[in-house]
Structure formats: structure tokens, C-alpha cells
């Protein structure tokens, strides 16, 4: 079983509510779920959708073709109908129009039924019940989810919602004579879900973050919200700054003060933080920055997705200094790599990035739960140091002792100006040279900690898809499809900088006799450029997508196969 649904309608109609009820229900059934969101930059109106894919086997991406469209308004039908598979169905609200929608559709008077059952607010539940009825699933898991969601609001409301679910479900079972979906409900255990932003937030909490400051910006705001919801329980100061400049300077102040600190934004907000990034480097103050990309330049497409800030983030800020950059491919990777970012940032006293994007931020993946052994935690701060302490002491590996001001006896002095070992301003040519070397020296050890790419697919491939960051799942599902026709594999990078040169070169030995195709959610092939510059590896072909939308695995498979046929 491999089914995809799209819930489409205006912003404010409850698309997200229905989507979340459904993913919860399918997870309860023990199914693997993948969902992503496509929404406009507005609070009401427009056309948004929430897409869900389910299977009894692991799945990692969305598909362009859908089995069922739930249209909450009439405008959604012409917009999305072309993506409905020949045997698929459109479920629509017949209380909105008298006109029939022809074959392959089922009209249900969602709003009218909701009103009769106690109010329009029940419409979402009626529609969700109807969708499950059309598919032929059992209703019980959904009723449990409804009970769980509404039990706090009192018995009466919970019962109303249960009745609405039942009414929608029964209507669809009775009326949909042409529905012939093959579904299965495995008896497996209830599955867990993890979203991209939530994963970064969880990774931060598990790494001991105690200070988070940010300015709200789509699509990164989910991290701010998540950490704010955990602030009291885990003792995290979460402050909405007046601007991104303040946010990053606060984070640097908190880290100088002795706690782990983080900020997050999207490209435009991060652009304002760039001076602060340089400050973190000059003062060797560890900080973690989550950059959740959206398409630019400038305001671009505020709620959509792109992988076009890679080189910006890599080269942002004046001066030369080391940094760490991770680009997770899944929520699970986002969790562990956020943890690794905190670890490396503090160990080497450098800024560390998590580069995500809207697609990953708003995706939900089924995940097996945490592998606790993978969480790295070591406190590198020094709590005892006498008057001889020097914040920027020259050492063998370039890493100076990181003491906490006010806790140690010695003074913790640092400066954005070039400074001596004590941290005081200097213009000495000799000290300047040694300080530059001290900071850059750290790159040697940092690079060793970086993992190379992951290879998946055929043992002797003819085609190898090369990607990074949020395309991991799309590549995995694409390789599986393409492999049925031609030998295909994939190389995926999520640990980007310092670039793991030798590990990458070794991994690319698989390319001997195969054609590498760079797959990037941007126009210029930024990662392919990096690969060429760092590892002298050329990718002869590229597939780019820069319309602000993510890759779909069925669409990408077709494109790869078309290319394979052409050579």
C-alpha cells in the first residue's frame, strides 16, 4: 500500500487541523507516514495544502500524484485535480455548490452536516471521517484520536466530535460506490512522528541549550515556539529580540556568560546576523545558528522552500575563520546534527550552523524514536582558573581554555578587535599573525570529526544522484523507483563544513563508470560548485528545481529515467 492524500483549501479553513488529525490517526494504526505543507504567505484565503503519504513500509518523501484530494473549497478542485491519479478520487463539500463534479468524485455536504450536528466547527471532523470512510479504514483509531484531542474540553464537546466523525465516515461508506482503495492496517505498534523544526528544538534541549533568542521569521519560527514551550521545564531563557542583530548578540553574550546558546532565522534574518557571526569568530565564543532557508533574494517566497543559502552561509561574514555547517536530510538527522553542532561549537569555540529549509521544517516523518547513545554531551567550560588565566592562550591545537566570567577567579577578557592572549586590544603584527593561525588551526581537528556522504542503492550503478540537506528522502525514494529499471544509487551529504574532502573522494569512487547527477533545490548548483572546489569532483549533469516547491519523488524519478534514456 502506498497512498497519497492532499487536503486543500483556503488558509484558515482547518487544513492543518485535518492534516494533523490524519497523521496522528495513521500513526496510531502503525503506518509509516510522511507529510509536508504547502502554504501561502497570508493568514486567510488563498490556496494551501497539506499532503500526506502512508504505507506499511518506510517512506521518505511526497509524491506529485495523489490518490485522494479533499477539497475544502470549490477552487481547490481545478487547481489540484490534474494530480489525482486515474483511479483516484476527489472528496468535496457538496453544500458549497449544486453542480456535480463528475466521475471520480464524491460530494459530501460537509458544512450542512456539521451545522446539523452542532456547528460548522465540526466540519473538519466530518471531512476527516469521510476521508477515512472512502479509503475503507476502520474508524476506531480516529475516534481515539478525537477523544484524546477533545477530552479536555469536556464530555459534551468530545461526544459531539465523535458523532461528527461517525456521520462523515458512514456517509462516505454508504455513498462512495466507486471507491476501491486497497488499504491495510498493520497490527504494528503505534508510530512516532517528528517534524523538522521540532527536531532542531529537541536536539537543542538535549544538548543543554539554556538561552535562545530570535526574531520571528517563517519558516524558522517553529524552533522559537518549540523552545518557548520547553522554557520553564528545562530552564531555558527564550527571548524574542527586537531584531536579528540583537538576537545574535544576545546569544553571544549568553555564551560568553557561560551557557549554551542558540539563535535561528531564515536567510533574510541571518543576513542581519552576519556581523555578529564574525564577532562570535573573533571572540571565539561558541554559538549555534539554525538557518531555515526559504527562496530569496530579499523577501522572495516567504513560505516556500529552496536550498539557495548554502554558499551564503558558508562564506558569510568578513574575515577568515573556521565554522561548522550541517545540513540535515530528515528530522531525525536534524536532531542528532543539532546536538553535534552544539558539541563541536563548544569544543572548538566556533560558530556552528544547522542549515534546514521550509520543506524539512514543515515535514513530519515517522521515526523510530531516539537512540540515546548518539547524544553527545561534554561540558568544555572551565569553572576554576586563577589570576594567570588567559582567555585566548596559544595552545597546540588552537583551542584555549573557555572559562566562565565571575565563576573563575581570573578575568575573562575578549575583544572583537584583534587581541593578545589575555584578550586585550593589540595591533602587533606578530601577535595578529599568530592569532589568525591559532583560529584556523582548529580546522584540522574539526575536519576529522566530519562524516562523509551516505551511499545508498545499486552496487555498480550507472547513475548516481548526488544531493545534500533536505533532499535525502526524495533521493532515497527516487533511487528505489529508478533502480527497478536501471542500476542507480545516491550519495547524500549532511555534514558539509569543514568539507570532509578525503571521505568524499573515497565515496565518489563509486562514480567510476557511472554518471553523477547533482540534484539541488536551487538554480545554480551550489553544492556541485563546492564539490568541485573542495574535492575536484565534477558532476556532468544536474537537476535543479527553483520554483519554490520541493522535489516530489515520482516527478524526480521520471526526470532521471528520461535522462537515462537520452544517453
Amino acid at each position: 500500500m502506498d497512498l497519497s492524500f492532499r487536503i486543500a483549501g483556503e488558509a484558515g479553513q482547518g487544513i492543518q487541523t485535518i492534516g494533523e488529525l490524519l497523521v496522528k490517526t495513521f500513526s496510531k494504526m502503525g503506518l509509516f507516514v510522511f507529510s509536508h505543507q504547502d502554504y501561502m504567505s497570508r493568514i486567510r484565503g488563498g490556496n494551501n495544502f497539506y499532503q500526506i503519504r502512508i504505507s506499511e513500509r518506510p517512506i521518505h518523501s511526497s509524491q506529485r500524484s495523489i490518490d485522494l484530494l479533499l477539497a475544502l473549497n470549490m477552487e481547490s478542485i481545478p487547481l489540484h485535480r490534474a494530480h489525482v491519479k486515474p483511479k483516484g478520487m476527489v472528496l468535496w463539500d457538496s453544500s458549497r455548490s449544486e453542480e456535480g463534479q463528475g466521475e471520480g468524485s464524491l460530494g459530501i455536504p460537509i458544512l450542512r452536516m456539521a451545522r446539523e450536528l452542532g456547528g460548522e466547527i465540526l466540519g473538519n471532523i466530518v471531512a476527516t471521517g469521510a476521508l477515512l470512510g472512502m479509503l475503507g479504514f476502520e474508524l476506531e483509531p480516529f475516534l481515539e484520536v478525537v477523544k484524546g484531542s477533545f477530552s479536555e474540553k469536556g464530555k459534551e464537546i468530545a461526544e459531539k466530535n465523535e458523532r461528527a466523525a461517525y456521520a462523515g465516515y458512514e456517509y462516505a461508506r454508504r455513498e462512495c460506490l466507486t471507491c476501491s482503495f486497497e488499504v491495510c492496517s498493520p497490527k504494528g505498534e503505534e508510530k512516532r512522528l517528528l517534524g523538522g523544526n521540532e527536531a532542531i528544538g529537541m536536539g537543542a534541549v538535549l544538548s543543554g541549550v539554556r538561552f535562545y533568542s530570535a526574531y520571528p521569521m517563517t519558516p524558522s519560527t517553529g524552533i522559537l515556539n518549540y523552545l518557548a514551550s520547553k522554557a520553564e521545564e528545562f530552564g531555558i531563557i527564550v527571548e524574542q529580540a527586537e531584531d536579528e542583530i540583537a538576537a545574535i548578540n544576545m546569544v553571544i553574550g549568553a555564551s560568553y556568560g557561560g551557557v549554551r546558546a542558540m539563535t535561528g532565522s531564515s536567510g533574510g534574518g541571518f543576513a542581519l546576523m552576519v556581523e555578529g557571526l564574525s564577532l562570535s569568530a573573533a571572540t571565539e565564543t561558541p554559538i549555534v545558528i539554525a538557518e531555515v532557508q526559504r527562496p530569496g533574494p530579499a523577501t522572495g517566497l516567504p513560505t516556500r522552500t529552496e536550498q539557495a543559502d548554502l554558499l551564503f552561509v558558508l562564506f558569510a561574514a568578513h574575515g577568515e575563520f573556521p565554522r561548522v555547517l550541517f545540513a540535515p536530510g530528515s528530522p531525525e538527522q536534524a536532531l542528532y546534527l543539532t546536538n553535534k553542532a552544539f558539541h563541536m561549537s563548544e569544543r572548538y569555540q566556533v560558530p556552528a550552523f544547522i542549515l534546514s529549509d521550509q520543506y524539512l521544517a514543515d515535514s513530519l516523518w515517522t521515526w523510530p524514536g531516539i537512540d540515546e547513545g548518539k547524544i553527545l554531551y561534554r561540558d568544555y567550560r572551565i569553572r576554576e582558573a586563577d589570576g594567570t588565566y588567559k582567555r585566548h592562550r596559544f595552545t597546540q591545537d588552537g583551542v584555549s581554555p573557555l572559562a566562565i566570567p565571575g565563576i573563575v577567579e581570573g578575568l575573562v577578557v575578549t575583544d572583537s578587535d584583534e587581541h593578545d592572549e589575555e584578550g586585550h586590544i593589540t595591533e602587533s603584527a606578530e601577535i595578529r599573525k599568530r592569532m589568525v593561525e591559532k583560529r584556523l588551526m582548529k580546522l584540522l581537528h574539526m575536519r576529522e570529526e566530519m562524516e562523509g556522504p551516505t551511499y545508498l542503492g545499486h552496487r555498480s550503478p550507472k547513475i548516481v544522484l548526488v544531493g545534500w540537506g533536505s533532499t535525502l528522502g526524495v533521493l532515497m525514494d527516487t533511487v528505489e523507483t529508478v533502480n527497478k529499471k536501471i542500476p542507480c544509487g545516491m550519495l547524500h551529504f549532511s555534514e558539509i563544513w569543514p568539507f570532509p574532502v578525503s571521505k568524499a573522494q573515497k565515496a565518489f569512487e563509486v562514480l567510476k563508470g557511472a554518471i553523477g547527477i547533482g540534484v539541488e533545490n536551487n538554480a545554480t548548483g551550489q553544492f556541485a560548485w563546492l564539490l568541485r572546489a573542495e574535492a575536484q569532483i565534477e558532476l556532468p549533469w544536474k537537476i535543479s528545481k527553483y520554483d519554490g516547491r520541493p522535489f516530489y519523488s515520482d516527478e524526480l524519478s521520471e526526470e532521471v529515467l528520461a535522462y537515462a534514456r537520452s544517453i
Partner: protein
């Protein structure tokens, strides 16, 4: 407490007296060097912490307040002072100043206000007089000067005062009052720039400044009047005070002690975070 030092200031600069007043204030407060952190931006005034023995974060132009706010929040046992110039804090960092007044962190801000840019050699600053001619203002300065005290009273900042570098003793007393104040204390310090400001000289100030007497700083209406007074007579002292909760007081878990001393128990966090199901699935 004094380090051997070699300041980068011009001979006769008001910064020398401000430094002297600051050292005196720290002595009056009985503070050890490691109990104090001075955060500064960029400018001649911002070099102050290098010439004082204390914890030092000399950051970016205009950005001292966000750093100082967060530093105090994570370790409220530290006495945190921000040192800035008029270009630094009223120009580049103006937005941070407004929001620091709103947040009310328990820190003091000492502004070395000489109404001119010194380090970049003589351009107009946000507090320069209108029509001031400089190399970069060929038609004279086309903007009105910012009145930091009036801004402070308008923003209901919890402590607004003005000192004069020419009176070290009284300046150090004002600094002590600012540091003793629970909340954000703005102390604007008038100082001559001997190299670039030929208008607001030591003698110019000396003729005009007077100390406020019988002024109730909690009387906002009267504070507005005093804050607007400029020209023939320039008031010094505490212009305005408001009783407000501090930023740190609003963070409930800081009652347990400084955040930096609270420790991190990974096992407890794992259990609390992962013991129950997370996200929409749970």
C-alpha cells in the same frame, strides 16, 4: 585594581576623568575585579574596559546592550556595566537602547557623550547640534540632536541620569547610584572632545551645568521638564526613576540562582523529554 596601561586617548580627553570616576565607584561598591563585567562596543569610550581590571567583552559598534542583557540574565550575580559613546549607543545601537529600556535588565549604561565622532575624526554624532559644519556635513548637520534623557523619560526607563566628566567625585556618586539601582540605568555623561568638538568645550559645559536639588525623580512631569532643559543651564543628577520589575525577575527559574550555576543533568532531560511521546504523534 588599577592595571598598568597605555590608553589610546588624546591628552586632556574627558575619558580619563570618566575612568577615574568609574574606578572610584567600583571601590565605593567594594567590588573585586572578577565580580564585574564591562561590555562595550566600538569607539574611544568603548575601550574603557581595557584600562580597568575586570571581566571584559569588547564587542561590536552599537551592540553592547544585547550582549550585556544576556550576560546579566545568565549570571545575575555579576555586576554588568555597558560603556558606550554617543555614536555607538545613540546612533548604531539606537534600536537596542529603546528595547533595553523596555526590557529593564539590571545593568548600567554609561554613555561618554561628547557630541561628536572622535575615532573616525570629527563627523557629527546623533547628539551634535543642528547646523554643525564638519567635513562630512558640508551644509551643516541637517538633523536635530537626539535627547537621550527625554527619550528615557518617555520610554519610562527605570533610571535616567546625567553626569559631567569635569566633576569626578559627583560623577562617581552617580555611577554608584546607577549600579545600586535595580533595573536598567542610563547615565549620560557629558564630556568635551578636546580634538574635534570646538563648540562644547570644557569651559562651555562648566559655565552651564548645575546639579538638581529638590527634584523628585519619581515625578515624571517634572522629569520631562528637566530632561528638556538645555542651553543656558544644563541639569545634572538623577532626572527620572520608575519602579519596575527587572528582566531577570520575570524569569521564574532564576529564583533558584544564576542560570550558569544551575547545571545540566542530561539524564533528567532525556527522561523528561523522551519519556513521553513527542509531537503530533503523541
Amino acid at each position: 585594581m588599577q592595571d598598568p596601561y597605555n590608553p589610546a586617548w588624546c591628552p586632556g580627553c574627558g575619558n580619563f576623568q570618566i575612568r577615574e570616576a568609574l574606578l572610584m565607584a567600583m571601590e565605593k561598591k567594594g567590588l573585586r575585579p572578577n565580580q564585574i563585567a564591562i561590555v562595550s562596543g566600538i569607539g574611544q569610550g568603548a575601550k574603557m574596559p581595557h584600562y580597568i581590571s575586570c571581566n571584559t567583552f569588547n564587542g561590536l559598534h552599537g551592540r553592547s546592550l544585547p550582549v550585556a542583557t544576556a550576560l546579566k540574565a545568565v549570571n545575575h550575580k555579576l555586576v554588568v556595566i555597558a560603556e558606550a559613546g554617543d555614536g555607538d549607543i545613540y546612533g548604531e545601537g539606537g534600536n537596542h537602547l529603546i528595547h533595553a529600556m523596555r526590557r529593564n535588565p539590571d545593568i548600567s549604561l554609561f554613555v561618554h557623550n561628547n557630541q561628536i565622532y572622535g575615532l573616525t575624526k570629527g563627523q557629527a554624532s546623533p547628539t551634535s547640534v543642528r547646523d554643525l559644519k564638519t567635513k562630512t556635513q558640508p551644509f551643516g548637520l541637517l538633523s536635530e540632536p537626539l535627547n537621550p534623557l527625554l527619550l528615557g523619560v518617555a520610554m519610562n526607563a527605570s533610571f535616567v541620569g546625567r553626569g559631567f566628566s569635569g566633576d569626578v567625585e559627583r560623577l562617581s556618586e552617580l555611577m554608584v547610584q546607577a549600579m545600586d539601582h535595580k533595573g536598567f540605568a542610563l547615565l549620560d555623561i557629558l564630556q568635551p572632545c578636546v580634538t574635534f568638538n570646538r563648540v562644547n568645550t570644557f569651559a562651555w559645559y562648566k559655565k552651564r551645568v548645575y546639579y538638581l536639588e529638590d527634584h523628585d525623580p519619581f515625578d515624571r512631569r517634572s522629569a520631562f521638564e528637566r530632561a528638556m532643559e538645555w542651553g543656558e543651564r544644563i541639569p545634572l543628577g538623577v532626572i527620572y526613576k520608575a519602579k519596575r520589575p527587572t528582566f531577570e525577575e520575570g524569569i521564574p527559574f532564576l529564583l533558584k540562582g544564576p542560570l550558569v550555576e544551575q547545571g545540566f543533568d542530561l539524564e533528567r532531560v532525556k527522561e523528561a523529554l523522551l519519556g513521553k511521546k513527542e509531537g503530533p504523534g503523541g
